[in-house]
Symmetry: C2
Subunit: 352 residues, 2 copies
DNA sequence: TTGTAAGCGTTATCAC
DNA sequence: GTGATAACGCTTACAA
């Protein structure tokens, strides 16, 4: 019953609910109530401590009944560490990053790890964030953004924070990362070849974008191997619809039969330039291909051929890394998640 | 230099950076170092305490120099309250809610208030969250979602948490809220009347959605006042593109000259059904109007006529409320932010 | 105005 | 395996 904006009228609260404002039970109080020492209560709640299974079960049961839950703030202070994880974002306009944040935050909650959100504006200083990380005793930081500088990441790591990078990597650094295999764009070249297209172009994101560069590189290499012609190439200032639109208009001067875009958003900008606003037929006049397989890609009126970016698996990888770090096992690891080509309706043989 | 995914190579860290792993300075250490008492340091950092301006300035200056920052965890424990604010979300697929989260989190950071993200899945229990709010000593919760039940909100409030609702309200409850004026949909009726359209229809969100209901109501009332004909009405299970697509197909049976949708996303689904996939002309065959004025609404190939939803001002309102609450001033307040009609290219006279 | 000292609710180090 | 007791780094009476 939690769908829609309005899940019913205000419901009268029972007596126990009303008492909520009373301060929460402390370990000491629970201990006194059930006749054990306060440290026993503490031990019952932390794993890897020496309590008899019987006592632990008893304490946990009573705690449940009386509504006791350890105060994490006190625990953080005492342990000089917190289970809060910093989640750093900067690209709320990117559907892929939003999807990652969505799934990641849900998964974290299931594990009782809570994300403190650091939404960095362009130009925010890494140092400022570092101070906050320290203030909160935050040990682990997950970066879901391509816009945070390597420098910032390096500083956090140098300060002893564990960093997990999503969708990017710092090659020779001992920093965990989980990302999709951008070289899958080579599959696009194969596909275009198979349907008989020879003149191809690439429309990318910002020049400084590693993601765009990797996707371009793998595509261009395979294009060359197959003996196809790379007739055009455009980059943008950003990963926006307008960028894809403008890039497409520009690259059409080279008369390509197909265009690969660094992301679906750019590709949809291209579809707009060509078809919605341009009066051309896709794929009749030109084929287009995206990368990421965002929700929009399968809208009835879009049906974009694209490379699948497996966000759920990337999130799984990040969660796995997170747990390894929190359990103190192993060092940083690099995950690379494969994606595959999804052929829809924006690619096909050229019109006769 | 923080645009693009890759902001340069790893930079060698200076000596002071490398030492970062050394534990942060405490108030006691700073106090000893600069020759004041620890409580003086504490006072210098909290406003409304009795310290001479001179001492405060001195302490703050030295703290800055030596890199001291109060540990907020200890502060939370001592104050039995935390400046962490819970931000509750559930609709990561809604551009408007994402935009709110984006802007809100940035504004909060500027104020040194940090958002702990609670991303609730459909069906998540309010009680579970409440336990976590207590564990973190969280006093204030901002709800950016229509899908969290009134019941949950009421329970948090009954437990003594301050709640700020964004984009919704619980009418007779003493709970703060900031939302857009959904009755602005009446402006749509006026606009359609002026361009000579008489048969209109409405495509809404889930039946349980208060937002959809309010937008529909104001529209329908004005339509009646103007003597226009409401010839059709469809609701969906959700606020998705597909819902808008399907709802449009259904409502076209009543041959409307114009359709108002509860949101832009639904309207774009409608545009897809009519134009991209349907071969009809918009606005030649039928005019369509959305609500929210999301980014997509102004894409070259969309140019959707819509009602502006002023997210920045709504966020301003929420921040204002937040500060009032944190300063202990005043009780809950209700803000209503006006929007206006944005006429673009999807409305116009019917084809001759 | 400033310093001293007693919490805040945990964890961790001791003995037993 | 369990119970006292000392941190953890702050805030806040209470004294000076």
């Amino acid at each position: 019953m939690t769908t829609g904006d309005d899940a019913g009228p205000i419901i009268q609260l029972g007596a126990s609910e009303r008492l909520g404002a009373r301060p929460a039970l402390t370990a000491r109080e629970l201990a006194d109530l059930i006749g054990v020492s306060q440290s026993t209560v503490s031990r019952a709640f932390s794993k890897g401590t020496s309590v008899s299974p019987k006592t632990r079960a008893f304490v946990l049961e009573q705690a449940e009944k009386l509504g006791y839950r350890p105060n994490v703030i006190a625990s953080f202070l005492s342990r000089r560490a917190s289970s809060i994880v910093g989640v750093v974002t900067a690209d709320f306009t990117s559907p892929v990053y939003i999807d990652m944040l969505d799934r990641l935050s849900v998964r974290m909650q299931e594990l009782d790890i809570h994300p403190l959100l650091f939404n960095l504006q362009a130009g925010a200083e890494a140092g400022d964030q570092l101070a906050v990380l320290r203030q909160y005793n935050i040990e682990t930081v997950i970066v879901i953004s391509g816009r945070i500088s390597h420098m910032s990441v390096a500083r956090w790591a140098a300060d002893g924070r564990k960093v997990i990078l999503m969708n990017r990597d710092i090659p020779d650094a001992a920093i965990g990362s989980v990302r999709c295999d951008n070289s899958a764009s080579s599959l696009v070249a194969d596909h275009l070849w198979e349907i008989g297209l020879r003149r191809v172009a690439f429309v990318g994101g910002p020049e400084s974008s590693a993601v765009s560069a990797e996707r371009e590189q793998a595509f261009v290499r395979r294009v060359a191997e197959l003996g196809m012609i790379l007739c055009g190439r455009e980059g943008g200032r950003e990963y926006s619809h307008q960028s894809g639109f403008d890039g497409t208009r520009a690259v059409m001067a080279s008369r390509p039969e197909a265009i690969l875009y660094a992301t679906d958003r750019l590709a949809i900008g291209g579809l707009d330039a060509l078809s919605w606003s341009g009066g051309l037929s896709v794929p009749g006049d030109v084929s287009i291909v995206g990368f990421d397989n965002i929700d929009m890609a399968c809208w009835p009126g879009i049906q974009l051929t694209t490379v699948h970016h497996d966000v759920p698996r990337i999130v799984d990888g990040a969660i796995e890394l997170l747990q390894q770090i929190q359990n103190g096992r192993e060092g940083p690891r690099k995950h690379l998640v494969k994606g595959g080509l999804v052929v829809r309706a924006t690619t096909g043989p050229a019109k006769a």
